[in-house]
């Protein structure tokens, strides 16, 4: 693969990961908006945990499903989201084993902050509509053939973005084959998902339909989801919403009164940043240190940050513009508009490709010197 193709490949991969993750964030935000609006007035301790980390007794580790909802001591919901499932049987079963762990009684977070284990909780698996039937069939076969023990109320819902009655939004619907339904007798009679989403004679399943206007404020305040974000996604958020607040008064004034194209160096301590993100920027957030390290490594590669200590970085903060260079004329740049995600991906990939080039050059040199060594050994022997 030539340098330009490598660059194109890197750039597209970065943006694809960014877009896929954004869809996850959308889906979580849809459920947060829908469930909060529908049920929070009925339950004093209702809590939508966007970043769950459920402690389990026997191990030090905790379980981190995509999101959980605590209604009361009797009922909770746990959601796991998969765009798709692996093809490989072993990997597929590994995913199911993970789901099986979610079926045991688990301590959900309630609004007061305390951990309460609901008597019953349902596990909802959200999958993209493109593979939902295949996944349902595979899971069903495994259960029927007793290849896997999944003695739980696993509800499979597919999601897609679709149009309905002149509006568009995310649609969620039951997938046939897995016939389990919600055990939600604790929910108000007229708002039971089990009734709304059961198969109606001659009508099929009813769908939940959530428009952007319903969920955008949850997306803005929730920011991420409980899966590790692509570095680019988190970097965009930090660049857009956080780093400016690290400028001092004089630096802010210089941007405001003089030249907003100036570059300012700001020092960021990742421990402090993590605390601020999880409390101030994303209340009840759970941004992990390794997510932040990943994001700052990305900035370092893109030459926008310098590592000072293991958790301290110096950022070269500015209104980022496209770089003029030999990749400038590549197809992706010609057809796209230069928003921050694209500009950052360009900065990153330009360096990443060169780094890889250097790496391969190093490997090549190593191989050659090995060969030389071997040939010299051979000669002397």
């Amino acid at each position: 693969m030539g340098e330009k193709e490598e660059y194109e490949d890197c750039y597209e991969k970065e943006l694809n990961h960014f877009n896929t993750y954004d869809q996850y964030v959308d889906v979580v935000s849809c459920w947060e908006a829908f469930l909060e609006k529908s049920y929070s007035p009925y339950f004093d301790e209702y809590f939508f945990d966007r970043y769950p980390s459920l402690p389990i007794e026997e191990k030090e580790n905790s379980l981190t499903p995509d999101f959980t909802v605590f209604f009361n001591e009797e009922y909770g919901l746990l959601f796991e989201m998969k765009r798709t499932f692996p093809q490989n049987k072993e990997a597929f079963d590994k995913e199911l084993n993970q789901l099986e762990k979610y079926t045991h009684p688990l301590p959900f977070k309630s609004s007061g902050g305390s951990r309460i284990t609901p008597s019953v909780h349902d596990v909802v698996l959200l999958v993209s509509s493109s593979k939902s039937f295949t996944i349902a069939k595979k899971i069903n076969n495994r259960i029927n053939n007793k290849e896997i023990e999944l003695d739980t109320n696993l509800i499979l819902l597919e999601y897609m973005y679709s149009e309905h009655d002149k509006t568009s939004g995310y649609q969620f619907r039951r997938v046939p084959m897995l016939e389990k339904n919600f055990q939600d007798s604790e929910l108000p009679d007229e708002k039971r998902l089990s009734q709304k989403m059961e198969m109606k004679e001659n009508e099929g399943y009813e769908n939940i339909f959530i428009e952007p206007c319903d969920f955008v404020d949850k997306k803005v305040t929730g920011v991420l989801c409980n899966d590790k974000p692509p570095a680019l996604y988190l970097v965009c958020y930090l660049w857009d919403k956080v780093f400016y607040n690290y400028l001092d008064k004089k630096q802010k004034e210089r941007w405001s009164r003089k030249n907003p194209r100036n570059t300012f160096e700001i020092e960021i301590d990742l421990d402090n940043l993590q605390g601020e993100l999880n409390n101030d920027y994303i209340p009840n957030g759970f941004i992990r240190m390794n997510w932040l390290k990943n994001a700052f490594k990305y900035l370092e590669t893109a030459t926008l940050a310098e590592k000072q200590e293991s958790k301290v970085y110096k950022i070269k903060y500015r209104n980022l513009k496209r770089k003029r260079n030999k990749f400038r004329e590549s197809k992706s740049e010609k057809t796209d508009f230069a928003d921050l995600s694209r500009v950052l991906a360009e900065w990153y990939c330009q360096k990443e490709v060169k780094l890889e080039e250097k790496e391969s050059q190093k490997e090549k040199t190593k191989d050659e010197s090995k060969k030389e060594e071997q040939s010299s050994i051979f000669k002397f022997s």
């Binding site: 206007c213 400016y244 928003d339």
Partner: protein, 366 residues
């Protein structure tokens, strides 16, 4: 102050705003130089901000009068093409308070001083001082308010209108203001500047208004300008400013304060329009945008590097754009965002964001 200006009136001698208004009329009649004003929003008395200025580029001298402030301003514009490597733009202006946080700065010094010294000087106090932007509909409301107050026919002598794709056209045809506004609406264009006359019983009045809250008093009785036009403009800017005030999210809170731009039904037609909104946002000066979701719905985030303001912008339906201000979202920046969308994409009504409190449980199901 120029020699010519000093001979006709010296601002030093003017103590009351009423007297300024009257003398400015005489000055305009004798010299033909209009009085230019800009009406703007300021959190507190702008004089307090002016006093803090620490810039080599500007020199100011402030004199407090009984009900206004007189300011002598000099701006040193550096450019190697000038003979000395710089040029000085100097003049006097006055500022006074209209209603609540609305202030007007006026000068009879001329276009060069107004454009290159006064307006640039005010811009450096952003976001504390913010220029307001009027939509075509708001300009129409302003003319209707003047029409209701004054007994005289309003005609438009010159109108500069733009299509949302930037093609400007100037009309010199004298028409009623209703015709001008209706034409702009029917042709999906927006009005940028308007020069108008009011035929009064004795004498006619001539003035000018732009969507940036700038106005000119060209000729005629001064109360029409100061007591009706500037007063109506101040009220309109005040009402509009409220929509963009205190919208920032608080740290540690999940409460947001959205603003919505509502268009006519089915005005937003799909991915092509998403791109138009992206382009409109990209034209906000000194800003950067991040496109999180391009299609089918649009989610972008915009960061204004002049004051660190940021907001998320969504196309949420075929007739609405929702703007959710972030932790730092100045009034000035939110106004700029809305102005760029209405200018470059389409004009719509700007309202407090709706919360879907009315949506029933059953309406989430299809």
């Amino acid at each position: 102050m120029s020699e010519k200006e000093t001979k006709i009136w010296d601002l030093i001698e003017v103590e009351e705003l009423k007297s300024y208004k009257n003398k400015s009329k005489n000055f305009i009649e004798k010299t033909g130089t209009p009085c230019r004003s800009v009406t703007f929003y300021s959190d507190k008395n702008p004089i307090e901000y002016f006093k803090e200025i620490d810039e080599n580029e500007y020199k100011i001298d402030i004199i407090e009068k009984s009900d206004f402030w007189k300011i002598s301003l000099t701006r040193k514009i550096k450019n190697k093409n000038y003979e000395k490597g710089y040029r000085l733009v100097e003049g006097d202006f006055i500022i006074y308070n209209d209603i609540e946080n609305i202030w007007t700065a006026s000068t009879t010094k001329g276009r060069d001083f107004f454009d290159h010294a006064l307006k640039r000087f005010l811009e450096i106090f952003s976001p504390n001082i913010s220029i307001s932007y009027l939509s075509t509909e708001e300009m129409r409301k302003l003319f209707e308010a003047i029409d209701n107050e004054i007994n005289g026919e309003i005609t438009v002598d010159k109108a500069i209108v733009y299509s949302h794709q930037k093609e400007g056209s100037i009309s010199f045809e004298t028409r009623t203001y209703h015709e001008v506004f209706n034409d702009a609406k029917n042709q999906n264009k927006y009005l940028d500047k308007i020069k108008f006359s009011i035929d009064l019983a004795e004498k006619s009045f001539q003035g000018y208004l732009s969507r940036r809250g700038e106005s000119r008093y060209i000729s005629g009785p001064e109360p029409i300008y100061y007591d009706y036009i500037l007063q109506s403009l101040a009220k309109l800017i005040c009402d509009k400013g409220q929509l963009f005030t205190n919208k920032s999210r608080e740290f540690g809170s999940k409460e947001s304060n959205p603003i919505e731009i509502v268009f006519k039904e089915s005005a937003i037609k799909g991915p092509e329009d998403n791109l138009k909104v992206i382009r409109a946002l990209k034209q906000v000066k000194s800003s950067s945008i991040t496109v999180y979701h391009k299609n089918p719905y649009l989610h972008t985030s915009i960061m204004d590097f002049t004051d660190g303001s940021s907001a998320d912008v969504f196309i949420t339906s075929d007739r609405s754009i929702s703007i959710i201000p972030s932790f730092n979202s100045s009034r000035n920046s939110l106004m700029k965002i809305c102005d760029n969308i209405t200018k470059e994409f389409q004009e719509g009504e700007i309202i407090e964001g709706k919360r879907n409190t009315q949506k029933s449980f059953d309406s989430f199901f299809t």
